[in-house]
């Protein structure tokens, strides 16, 4: 992994980030739906003067580019603006919600990988066997059931019928780990189910390709048993491209997290976004969505770098000494 490659990728990501912030900002500003009118309620009863003043106080009457400029520079200095609704700094609204969302995302990812990777490997050890069939069916289902339906199904089974798990709420991991686990179980499982399908599919296909490669025949020819051949030789080769899919699913996760947090009343960025959306609180929205986009772009960056580190062939191509 040489410096030039790293720098190049970093610059590309930064440009992407900048462009994304531009898109978010512009989309929110040029769309109809004036935050001011929402704030003040019924427009007809309000004095035009008051409207104008409110607009001015939020800087909404300045040219678009100027608004964007001050927002962007504000971001760098740590000033994320103030909520149109509550006048609170956006930070105080946003920061406490970051960890719950991160926690949920990580839990879902871990669950999905813990299920999908071993399942795909086992399916490759015994193609067309029982596990292979079961696993492909689950994958197929996972892609066809929207996350909110899975969530409801889990709630019906575990909260309504069995009364085992609570269906809403949040408690910090530090304060009460047991309860935290109880509360995170269903939302994490729901998200995990949605994203394990593409991971499973891809890993399975990747393994199929790897096991058809000549070096697998060499490994078997050395006297290794087939299960060992798959686990030791095919899996590392199959995992590397699967990284890409995992990176992509983070994007899917961030989308799904919005709906799932809403259903389970999980106090993360998703619920903040839904709240802000109905109130048209653009100040909050633009930062929250930017945060999500940043998370995604950073993830893809990390995956690219991991790729470079893990694959010995790429290490050479990107400039490391042989």
């Amino acid at each position: 992994m040489n410096a030039r490659y790293v720098v190049r990728r970093l610059i590309t990501s930064l440009v992407m980030l900048w462009l994304t912030s531009l898109v978010i900002f512009v989309v929110l500003r040029i769309l109809p739906g004036d935050p001011v009118t929402t704030m003040l309620g019924d427009v007809h009863g309000v004095d035009a003067q008051v409207l104008q003043q409110t607009r001015h106080s939020f800087g909404l009457d300045r040219p678009l580019l100027a608004q964007y400029g001050s927002w962007l520079s504000g971001l760098f200095t740590g000033n994320f603006g103030r909520s149109y609704f509550s006048q609170e700094p956006v930070q105080t609204l946003l920061v406490p919600r970051i960890w719950p969302t991160v926690e949920l995302t990580i839990a879902a990812l871990v669950l999905a990988l813990a299920f999908a990777v071993p399942a795909a490997i086992q399916a490759a050890v015994r193609p067309r066997g029982v596990i292979d069939r079961v696993v492909t069916t689950i994958a197929s289902l996972g892609m066809s059931v929207p996350a909110f339906l899975t969530a409801i199904a889990l709630i019906v089974v575990f909260s309504v019928k069995l009364k085992l798990l609570p269906s809403s709420g949040y408690v910090s991991l530090l304060r009460d780990p047991g309860r935290n686990l109880q509360l995170i179980a269903m939302p994490a499982a729901t998200l995990a189910f949605s994203i394990s399908a593409p991971i499973l599919r891809f890993m399975r296909a990747s393994l199929a390709e790897a096991t058809a490669s000549p070096y697998i025949r060499t490994a078997e020819g050395k006297g290794l048993r087939w299960s060992r051949v798959v686990r030791r030789h095919a899996t590392p080769n199959a995992l590397i491209p699967t990284l890409t899919v995992v990176g992509l699913t983070v994007g899917q996760l961030l989308g799904g997290v919005v709906i799932i947090e809403y259903i389970f009343s999980w106090p993360g960025i998703g619920t903040l976004i839904i709240d802000s959306v109905s109130k048209r609180d653009y100040a909050v929205l633009q930062v929250a969505i930017l945060v999500a986009a940043v998370a995604f772009i950073v993830t893809t960056l990390v995956v690219d770098f991991l790729y470079g580190i893990l694959d010995p062939r790429l290490k050479a191509r990107t400039g490391a000494t042989a």
Binding site: S213, P214, Y215, G221, K222, G223, R225, P312
Partner: protein, 343 residues
Amino acid sequence: MIATSGVSTKTLLEVRDLSVSFRANRNVIEPVRGVSLDLPRGRRLGIVGESGSGKSLTALALMRLLHSPARLGGQVLLDGEDLLTLSDGQMAKVRARRMSMIYQDPMSSLNPVFTVGKQIIEAIRIASDVSAAQARSAAIEVLGEVGVPEPSRRIDSYPHEFSGGMRQRVMIAMALSGDVDVLIADEPTTALDVTTQARVMDLLSRVVAERGLAVILITHDLGVAAGFCDEIKVMYAGRLVESAPVDSLYQRPVHPYTEALLGAICQLDADIAQPMTTIAGQPPLPGALPRGCSFHPRCPDAVARCTDEAPSTVHLGPARFAECHFALERAAMSDALTSGAQS
């Protein structure tokens, strides 16, 4: 060539009527049909043929590296034990300790994400119970033996950091890790340039001699086979159509196909005004074999009988046979010509 049972040179590997078949939709395709051979200890056997003759499949079948949907028939007796009846676990042990194989494409036959050392050490530790340290020094030693320079450093290199010839040496090193008795080499030099080819074949010759290995060399290159093998079998359309000691084959070929192959060898002193000799036509696909003798559409000496009746194996001497209706006559002619030329 029937092995006389027991006695001093006990046949190490006996293949009886080996067949490989696939079921495609409703048809059955048999790319390898009834191959039989005997391999005594220390013998170097060559199997030559065009692409598609089934020679690589035969090699893979011997090692049982062909999986479903391929189905194997016949017997493969290693020291009297039929490999085709062994369990997967038992066969794995055979591959580790008694038979090994090197493959034709060194580029893709080594795992790209593991160092060369790791892969050789893995082979060593499968074959015998040694510590990691012992395995590592054994690996360095065998790398040196196959001619890899600076083995203690290169042992930690990745396959893509080696040239094609070096990779093939690594493969040979890996194949020699267990104390095997039989080495199957599937077109080991096809992917290499001519000079590297020669060096790798020299290396192979040396290590085989040092360890007294029995070798089956699969190749389409008659020159390579001539330089290495004691005995040659010619394969066409899934069957062995001729077998002879190497000198007999090259000087007194019997089967029309062998004759044609030898005739098609490019002579450096040939008249360049004349077109190069080729064998007319294409080898048949396993699913569409001609009736009767499978070579008859391309045979310059074919007669009506060749279309109707498949020839049986005709034994022509202690180590020779050919599958042709006119084998005896052709052998007699061939011998007469040679002795005539010699006198």
